[in-house]
């Protein structure tokens, strides 16, 4: 039996992927937009719906970035509301572990799991910069090197809280008057480096016991955290070779944590452009890329690598001759850093621009492209399936470029072809997200290795 493909829908968000200038682009705030995308995903029998998160408006050169979609509603609140208008679709929220506390977040996630009948998921992200911290009581309180320590202990603490009510804690016996089987439900004590808390959790066990844990973050620490603690990874490795390498690396880390390769799903974020012919799809993709990377956006994206004010540069002209400034504070804030070694990346970009004769904008279009699947529905279905069967991924988080209709065509035209090939479900077999993802029951926290 071929591997089954996981599919998730990313609500188009705050980045230059989302083309807001298109006449078909609707509101990114109105609840109706969320309902449309979620219902489309559920019509397509997707595993889950996915929301990203940013906790401070992005800035560049000290000013609020105004070229991309700005503004998004609160993740957990939207997901709880979506639980009312969907029945099977998983509901995954990106929630920063640095600017939240385990007691509160564990309670919100357990609540979402109850309110959705077992469909909650948490994408654990770890931004710790003081720029974001300026919106919180905490402030920028934590060194970057500690953020995965906090995240791992956070997830472990959350699991302890989720398990703090015994499975049979609720007797609810009207005749005898026993509501509880024991007097101290939800009792917990957690003493650790990051959290030193004790008391009683308020939420009885939720349908999944542990909401599904996703991780996004690519460093070795991030991968190790995922291998120890996550059920799935949201990766950004969109090519076959890079995908396979990442897949091998991450899955090989699992045994050390007493886990099987199948316990951690790899789900890259990808985009899809469809056409009736390959040429039409390529043409459409080209047009979308030029909308995504306007001349102004091209300069701003270049600045993010160069870390210098490049506003004087011609977007159609050559790359700057100077190297990126690695000594200064980041010119771009509120955005996850994409380039571990800016100087090396700049050299690659320069070489590429020279080789292909590209100006700044075309170079940016080329190097920031994540249009992974372009073609006819048949070609796309085939390539996606190949990608999964060749162990470059276990499935995909589809990132449409339009709100909220960006997945309509995929669901109508590609999903049936994946079903024909027997690699995608034709109905939901289970009710919980764990069941959709083939994850099996939650692993009790006692079976997860404690942090050092």
């Amino acid at each position: 039996m071929p591997k089954q493909i996981i599919l998730a829908a990313h609500f188009p968000g705050v980045n230059n992927t989302t083309v807001w200038s298109d006449p078909a682009s609707g509101s990114q705030i109105d609840f109706a937009s969320f309902v449309h995308l979620a219902r489309t995903a559920e019509r397509g029998l997707f595993d889950f719906f996915f929301l990203a998160e940013g906790l401070r408006l992005r800035e560049q050169r000290g000013r609020i970035h105004d070229l991309d979609v700005v503004g998004r509603p609160d993740t957990l609140t939207v997901l709880a509301a979506l639980a009312a208008v969907t029945t099977h679709l998983g509901l995954a929220g990106t929630l920063n572990a640095t600017f939240r506390e385990p007691y509160e977040l564990a309670r919100q996630l357990a609540t979402l799991d109850h309110l959705s009948g077992g469909r909650a998921a948490w994408n654990v992200v770890t931004t710790s910069d003081s720029f974001t911290g300026e919106n919180f009581r905490r402030g920028g309180f934590m060194d970057r090197s500690l953020r995965y320590e906090r995240a791992a202990e956070f997830v472990r603490t959350a699991r302890e809280l989720w398990e703090s009510w015994a499975a049979d804690a609720l007797a609810g016996d009207r005749d005898s008057g026993r509501y509880l089987t024991a007097p101290d439900p939800g009792a917990f004590i957690h003493h650790g480096d990051q959290f030193d808390i004790a008391g009683h959790f308020t939420v009885p066990r939720s349908p999944q016991l542990h909401p599904v844990i996703l991780q996004a973050g690519d460093s070795p620490d991030g991968r190790e955290f995922a291998a120890s603690s996550a059920d799935a990874i949201f990766s950004r490795h969109g090519t076959l070779e890079a995908g396979q390498e990442f897949y091998r690396d991450v899955k090989s880390r699992l045994a050390r944590h007493g886990r099987e390769p199948d316990d951690l799903k790899i789900i890259p974020g990808v985009t899809v452009v469809l056409g009736d012919t390959d040429a039409e799809a390529q043409e459409k993709a080209h047009h979308i890329r030029r909308q995504q990377v306007s001349p102004q956006t091209a300069i701003l994206l270049l600045e993010q690598l160069w870390n210098r004010d490049l506003s004087g540069h011609d977007p159609e002209g050559p790359l700057p001759a100077t190297d990126p400034d690695v000594s200064a504070d980041a010119i771009s804030r509120g955005r996850a850093g994409m380039y571990p070694d800016p100087v090396a990346t700049a050299r690659q970009w320069r070489a590429l621009a020279e080789e292909k004769g590209l100006g700044i904008r075309d170079l940016i279009i080329e190097v920031t492209g994540r249009q992974s699947f372009i073609g006819t529905p048949r070609q796309v279905a085939e390539r996606m399936n190949h990608f999964v069967q060749a162990d470059a991924a276990d499935g995909f988080i589809l990132v449409p470029h339009l709100t909220p209709g960006g997945l309509d065509e995929f669901v109508d035209r590609v999903v049936p072809l994946l079903q024909e090939r027997g690699v995608f479900r034709t109905r939901y077999a289970g009710t919980t997200l764990r069941e959709h993802l083939g994850l099996g029951a939650a692993r009790p926290v006692s079976a997860v290795a404690a942090p050092r």
Partner: protein, 401 residues
């Protein structure tokens, strides 16, 4: 701007406010863990055109003890996050206001602000919010960030206690101030989608709130555009001078707990005086009196049911609000009397759910309507409009205009 319409709210919690409610309720004892339960209750309240429902919450387990758990096994324990419950039922209702409680002592004002703003977006302008102070050490221990001294309910006027409570309410005031500034941090027309210049927003219509206080500072702007109501409705529960002042400074609605009509008049006078003292601007507080209600067709049936509940309970009702036991007609009399004493409306706490809620919606409300005291349905509009509150101007837009 006199507001003569009677406002009616239902306070939803567990299976009702009586500690033995779950013994007599027809509902499954674990129903409050399911969304169906909350949707059904909100739908019931909406069919009677109540202004709003409130959802109780706390950052620790229900308890009859002043601090920490009480070891009881015979009472309902465990509950869900109220704000998420409100969001879950928002798409299933159309008119009724949804007012969850959240603690402001241990939470991040930024998160609370975006969550309530989002509740307003997903409900089309029906969000309210009841900020609540967490004074219990048991709650503080769940966060491990600060130590609170034990609060002895028998000595609330001890100087340390007065200082502590004062600080907690001042901090809560800062939290509400931050939340409100964040709601205004986007002007209504900040999203411009100007294709010609490639700009999605006009950054001059986005504002840093630059709040710096004793306990925290917050930069802003919000990540959520200004909610439909501009400012969702803020409600505070208050029993005494310090919380009255908190409400007068920071809230739109105050829930109070008078013992009788005379006391209601005194409470209203005190609240109005405090509004004066703190220099409240904008419309006067909507004052809603809290009442725990147990209703039945005859006074005897009501008393008998009350007696059964009291017998089943191993603790006192211990209600901060006056408890009413009687017929819907008798309750209508009381409501009329207290309304004349100056309260703008009532927040009714059903003793047993759903029974005492359906008695309110199906018997009390028609009686009030017959007497010309209550609306027949919903006018179009937001929760603010329903409460007779206009949509506030944006403080930053005003400053830059």
């Amino acid at each position: 701007m006199p507001d003569t319409t009677l406002h009616l709210a239902a306070a939803l919690d567990g299976l009702g406010w009586h500690p033995a409610a779950w013994r007599l309720s027809r509902a499954d004892p674990t129903a409050p863990l399911s969304s169906r339960w909350w949707a059904a209750l909100a739908g019931e309240a909406e069919r009677a055109a109540l202004d709003l429902v409130t959802l109780e919450d706390s950052l620790d387990l229900q308890s009859t003890a002043p601090d920490g758990p009480d070891g009881h096994t015979d009472q309902l324990r465990g509950r869900l996050d109220a704000l998420l419950v409100a969001a879950r039922i928002a798409p299933l209702t159309q008119h009724i206001g949804l007012v969850p409680t959240t603690s402001v002592t241990h939470t991040e004002p930024f998160h609370v602000s975006t969550a309530v703003a989002t509740l307003d977006h997903v409900s089309g302008g029906r969000a309210g919010w009841r900020p609540r102070v967490s004074a219990r050490r048991s709650e503080a221990r769940h966060f491990g960030r600060r130590n609170l001294p034990a609060l002895d309910p028998a000595h609330l006027d001890a100087p340390e206690t007065v200082r502590l409570v004062g600080d907690l309410f001042t901090e809560a005031g800062d939290a509400v101030e931050v939340v409100r500034r964040l709601w205004d941090s986007w002007q209504d027309d900040a999203e411009i989608r100007d294709v010609a210049t490639g700009r999605f927003v006009d950054r001059d219509r986005l504002h840093y709130i630059d709040f710096a206080g004793r306990w925290f500072s917050v930069k802003g702007p919000s990540i959520v555009p200004r909610p439909p109501q501009g400012q969702p409705v803020v409600a505070a529960l208050a029993h005494s001078a310090v919380p009255y002042a908190f409400a007068a400074r920071h809230a739109d609605v105050v829930f109070v707990t008078p013992a009788d009509a005379g006391h209601a008049a005194a409470v209203v006078a005190e609240v109005r005086a405090v509004e004066e003292t703190v220099g409240r601007t904008g419309p006067p507080l909507r004052i809603l009196a809290d009442l725990l209600v147990l209703l039945d067709e005859t006074p005897t049936l009501a008393r008998r049911r009350r007696g059964r509940l009291d017998d089943l309970a191993t603790t006192d009702v211990g209600s901060d609000a006056a408890a009413f036991t009687g017929t819907p007609g008798q309750l209508a009399d009381l409501i009329q009397e207290w309304h004349r004493a100056g309260v703008d409306g009532f927040r009714l706490r059903p003793a047993v759910l759903p029974d005492d809620l359906t008695a309110v919606t199906r018997a009390l409300v028609p009686t009030l309507r017959d007497r010309g005291l209550f609306r027949a349905g919903y006018p179009d509009g937001t929760l603010r409009a329903l409460l007779g509150l206009s949509r506030p101007a944006n403080r930053y837009a005003a400053a830059t205009a």
